[in-house]
Subunit: 198 residues, 2 copies
């Protein structure tokens, strides 16, 4: 018998994550039953829970996945560019991973679900804090590099600039996740960008 290749395992894991994301976005965490997860992924519960210990672990893996993708964009192009990508409805948060990117609406719905669980499930918080660390760190590293390059204003501490950008990102995610008719927010993002620059 041939051994199951790593590539095959990775593809299967990706298949589960993409289906689960749709399922969480559509039905919410509690509503995403094992049966619905089976339907959304096209896999049996046995296959799903071979890759992820339980529903909580699956959800956290999704959240971690998103945080890491956002961190990659922030590290190379900055947080304002991440916001522009999100606004453009781009399906391509991470240039190297085009073909495996989830639909933005699923992604945003899952993000809103993370917000909800942070509020209603205190046990979720420490685990999420760990996962979102990558994005927080990438934002500050990028800003420090920009500061060294003389591109940022210097009258406000970098930490405040980081929190300002994070507030705008949180607002954008919330707006987009609500699915409201998108205003033309490009000029608003221009304002956000200008506010941190020299």
């Amino acid at each position: 018998m041939p051994r199951v290749s790593q590539k095959h395992l990775d593809a299967r894991r990706r298949q589960i994550l993409d289906g689960a994301r749709r399922c969480f976005a559509e039905h919410g965490y509690e509503g995403a039953t094992v049966r619905r997860l089976e339907q959304a992924t096209g896999l049996s519960r046995g296959a799903i829970f071979h890759h992820f210990r339980d529903k909580e672990s699956l959800f956290l893996a999704l959240a971690e996945d998103d945080a890491r993708r956002m961190a990659d964009v922030v590290a190379t192009q900055g947080l304002v560019q991440l916001m522009r990508d999100l606004l453009a409805g781009s399906r391509q948060l991470h240039p190297e991973a085009t073909d495996s990117m989830p639909d933005d609406r699923d992604w945003l719905g899952a993000h809103l679900e993370v917000s909800r669980r942070l509020r209603t499930d205190p046990g979720f918080r420490p685990r999420w804090a760990e996962q979102s660390q990558a994005l927080t760190a990438a934002t500050r590293q990028r800003l420090r590099r920009q500061l060294d390059a003389g591109k940022l204003r210097t009258d406000v501490p970098v930490e405040v600039l980081a929190q300002f950008l994070e507030l705008a990102l949180e607002g954008l995610l919330s707006k987009l996740a609500m699915g409201l008719p998108p205003d033309d927010l490009e000029p608003v993002l221009d304002m956000v960008e200008a506010s941190v620059r020299r």
Copy 2:
């Protein structure tokens, strides 16, 4: 038999809204069963649905209530002040209504629940758009007055300034609703304020 006074009716309505808000914040819209609404308000289903046609109408009345309170603060003190009040964890969004103000956490939880329903329930959107109109209008009126008073920058259209402030408000609401340890966001709000001023 004495007629039920308007004052009594209003107090009863307020009692229902405050209890329902707690209930929606804690259990989510779907989880707020009629039985839980009875427990949270201390009233029978008969009494509750004498004042509100159904759960949907009760939820919308809450959302409208919140939008109006926020609009009152914005009209007199501006959107940045509303954000400062929220950040301070003030229980007093509207100075004239101190004794009937809900706990901020309930209020924010209910707000996050509105976001969720906007995403998952398309029928909810047009009804909410109507309710949130008060806040949108108050923000623009206030900005126009500030512009006339020479307090705002003039190189960016008022509409963009309004959307910029609304993005920050949305981000703040989202952050607070998540119940994360509040960063010291005062300097960030100072930045937001300075960004729209002359």
